[in-house]
Amino acid sequence: MQNNQDKIAISIRNVTQRFGDASQPDSVLALDNVSLDIKKGEFVCLLGPSGCGKSTLLNVVGGLFKPTSGTATVEGRLVDGKPHPDKIAFVFQESTLFPWYTVIENFHIALKFQGIPKAEWDDRAMAALRAVGMASFARHYPDQLSVGMRQRVNMARGICVKTDILLMDEPFAALDEQTRMVLGEDLSQLLAETGKTIVFVTHSLAEAVFLSDRIAVFTARPGKIKTIIDVDTPHPRSPDFMLEPKFSELRNECYALLRDEIRATMALQRDPQAV
């Protein structure tokens, strides 16, 4: 047990998030008493219907906002509504490459903000760009890249800062399915190499099964963790994994768990008061 305690990277305890004043009818309970432990080097997907609060939980862990109650602890340190850029890096859904900088300058800015010595900037940036096969585009502006390439670079920027934890908020959502699959493979490869702890928000079943060590399936709003599913297959995973019976079994299991929640979400969208 002692040993296990050391290996916890992220500890989420009773996190509740309410937007707006609880006394007001239009206030929204996004997360309801969520607890989850994530081990070092683990890849955990937060899977759920849209609006279930999974991105909210990610933002709480990343310190982008403070939960209404409950705590998130990262490597033993309380997050408390402040970003911890030395420990945590973010990759967002849409590319957040600054359009007024070139690819390499975007990396420099991230490294500068993290307080990393200037002498290391170029080496780190180029290593991360090589890892995603984008080294020859270092001097391009983001506008000159395709959406897929941009997200590749965006992912590399999250990796180059060398934090132990990477939080990814639907990073592939804006991509077509083929690009998404290739990037998923790359990510599985990178994960095996770097040993980072990754929390990944998605609403794609296949993506969740393909990438995760564990999948936390969320209920409809207010978001709670319904079940946690183990995917017991080592990284890096090849596309062949998707052809195994185990893959479709797990995918179907996730779908069965989500079906009711998706229906509940749709009912909620038709009539927001029907909770």
């Binding site: 982008l64 945590i88 973010f90 967002f92 849409e94 957040t96 903000f113």
Partner: protein
């Protein structure tokens, strides 16, 4: 320069040549009285004579310093006010429509008030030019900072940028193109207001001299003054555009 901008550039030059040709023909055939429009040659001679006088340069100096003072005032107040307003969604929603509403009022109508308050000297022209230029500068500053995409700020925050770093490396470069458009428009409105103000009521400056030569029925000299202003505007506009393009290319 690619082909399409090359062809549009040649159309622009052709238009200029056409206008000059029409001017020459209209005066050479005598179909327009030379009291209204003197021939190009006469204007050119008048301009050459004019630039050799001290009176010319002192008038230019008066106008230039008036424009500079008015513009610097508008720049400081406009950017400061615009930035402060942009910091709050509520302020943008309340104050921005008021500023853009006021901008639609022809401020020229209040010019006599400026004369009453600040006198017939350069003070009234500084105030008038600054007031007019304030609006486009403030409005573009608000647009530039308030429309910054939230995700860039969130990303910068998550990378650990402090407030100053985020302002310097994210907010500022992101806002600069729109901000600079406001500065350029503001400058030319400022220039036009000061010259217009001088023409209506003043004791010195380029505008004053244009009004004076018109009253004295000296079309040659009047057009010499006007062509000087036109040339200066064209040069300044080209400078502003090339500077703006440099910023955008960054």
């Amino acid at each position: 320069m690619d082909r399409s901008s090359l062809s549009s550039r040649s159309v622009q030059w052709a238009f200029l040549a056409l206008a000059a040709g029409a001017w020459y023909l209209a005066t050479a055939t005598g179909s327009v009285s030379r009291l209204f429009l003197p021939p190009p040659r006469e204007v050119f001679t008048a301009l050459v004579a004019l630039v050799q006088t001290n009176a010319f340069w002192s008038a230019v100096l008066v106008t230039a310093s008036t424009v500079a003072k008015a513009y610097v005032l508008a720049l400081i107040i406009g950017i400061l006010a615009g930035y402060l307003v942009s910091r709050s969604k509520l302020a943008v929603a309340t104050i921005e429509p008021v500023i853009s509403g006021l901008f639609t009022i022809p401020i020229t109508l209040f010019f006599p008030m400026f004369i009453l308050f600040f006198g017939v000297g350069t003070g009234s022209k500084v105030a008038y030019g600054a007031t007019y230029a304030f609006f486009p500068i403030a409005l573009n500053t608000i647009a530039a900072f308030a429309n910054m995409e939230q995700r860039y700020l969130l990303a910068a925050q998550s990378m650990g940028g402090n407030r100053w770093q985020i302002f310097r490396y994210v907010l500022m470069p992101g806002a600069l193109p729109v901000l600079f458009t406001g500065l350029r428009i503001g400058f030319f409105i400022c220039l036009a207001s000061v010259l217009g103000g001088e023409t209506i009521s003043s004791v010195a400056g380029v505008g004053r001299n244009i009004a004076l030569t018109a009253e004295l029925m000296e079309p040659g000299r009047m057009f010499a003054w006007i062509s000087f202003v036109v040339c200066m505007s064209v040069v300044l506009n080209l400078l502003a555009f090339s500077f703006e393009n440099r910023i955008r290319a960054r």
